[in-house]
């Protein structure tokens, strides 16, 4: 099959996704999760409709303009596509504050040029002037916080994270796309217990969800487990302890897995303390192996699959470093 991208013809093998075909032929296409979640690779079809299953998760206005996800699209006929409608997707935002919270985590406060209507726990894509795109979860709550808050983990070879840590300054601007994702607080059943489990900067969406739930008058217990390898990774320890002191139905359990005599991995500690999860809503944030295993465990322990919320996606920067 022929794949025309930005006016140039490439070949696309049977069963190959549009993204894989372009990368194989050295096209510098943006991508991250390759799983239909992050929307980083979004493109637009010039004529004809892309397969419907490559448009899931894309908002209606973009879908009707033929936007689709090349990472999910295995064309059955020739396809003519181009980069997305930039003005429709991206809006400008300005850094208000960048503050280091721990040796490897910084807090970034962003002010969007036009208000962003989001739910706590969703994520946005940041696009730097050179076109590099990365996804970050929102830690802020629209009803409580004036600006957008992100927690950035510095990765050894992470281009965006190192730039945010060392180069970006208050007053600089970049572009954002979003909000994206299904991992957010659902105000139905305010009496149901919530189990929030996150590792590293996976805490960002969880603190947003917890504060959103508390502000929405959630009456059920809210249990938040934050896992890190070392104690210094508990970057919101004081904030969370204060939140625990202020709300009788909120508990915070820090879990340190990499030091002897400490508590162990967050998901293991959480499941040991809550052996029956019937009626719970469970939120999981972290890397796919943890999220996928914890999703299965939570289901087997009685949670409804529909009540387990997670946006597992692989960080592109992370893949550049060895995992183990």
């Amino acid at each position: 099959m022929t794949l025309r991208y930005a006016g140039v013809d490439y070949d696309c093998r049977a069963g190959e996704t549009v993204l894989d075909a372009l990368l194989r032929q050295d096209v510098d296409a943006s991508y991250s999760c390759r799983n239909g979640i992050c929307l980083t690779c979004i493109m637009q079809c010039r004529d004809g409709a892309p397969p419907a299953d490559s448009q899931k998760g894309i908002k209606d206005t973009l879908r009707l303009q033929g936007h689709f996800l090349p990472c999910l699209c295995t064309p059955r006929e020739n396809l003519d596509c181009e980069p997305p409608n930039h003005g429709e997707i991206y809006g400008r935002a300005t850094f208000r504050e960048i503050e280091q919270l721990s040796p490897s985590i910084c807090r970034v406060i962003l002010e969007p040029a036009t208000p962003l209507y989001y739910r706590a726990g969703q994520f946005i894509n940041l696009r730097r002037a050179d076109g590099m795109v990365r996804s970050y979860s929102l830690a802020s709550v629209p009803a409580l916080d004036k600006h957008l808050e992100l927690h950035i983990k510095r990765l050894p070879r992470g281009e965006m994270s190192n730039w945010l840590f060392h180069r970006a300054e208050a007053g600089d601007s970049l572009e954002i796309h979003g909000p994206i994702g299904d991992c957010f607080y659902v105000p139905e059943r305010p009496e149901s217990p919530l189990l929030l489990i996150g590792n590293g900067s996976g805490l960002a969406p969880l603190i947003g969800i917890a504060r959103d739930a508390l502000a929405s008058g959630h009456t059920g217990a809210i249990h938040l487990y934050h896992g890190t390898r070392h104690r210094e990774g508990l970057y919101l320890d004081a904030t969370l302890r204060a939140l625990e002191g202020a709300h009788a139905n909120f508990t915070y359990t820090p879990c340190v897995s990499g030091e002897t005599g400490k508590s162990g991995r967050a998901e293991n500690v959480a499941f040991a303390e809550h052996p029956a999860l019937d009626g719970f809503r469970v939120y999981l944030c972290g890397y796919p192996p943890m999220v996928n295993a914890a999703q299965k465990t939570a289901y087997l322990m009685g949670a409804n699959l529909d009540d387990i919320h997670a946006d597992p996606f692989e960080l592109r920067d992370l893949r550049l470093t060895s995992r183990d």
Partner: protein, 122 residues
Amino acid sequence: MSQSLFENIGGQPAVDAAVDLFYRKVLNDDRVSHYFDDADMDDQRAKQKSFLTMVFGGPNDYTGESLRDAHKDLVDDGLNDSHFDVVAVHLQNTLDELGVPANLVNQVMALAAGTRDDILNR
């Protein structure tokens, strides 16, 4: 006129009651759970639902061909009669736990048995 199997067994609510019981039994069984490791759980649960709807005699869009395609890679990976039997026992236990009368269980199990060759790609 006798009612259909699907009506007798309780229709869609019976499927809804059975699907989590059944899927959890299968996932908890080390003899077969590894065949589900790479599957998206939401997709997989939806497939279990349509499979149960079919073997309960209800409206479904399963065909022999779709069952073959869905299991082809697993058969290449060693899926055989012993695994089919394990899952069949979980189905029977699910129905027993839900209090489905024995004559209806037998009809369901007969419909399930009829999928064996398609699932095992024979």
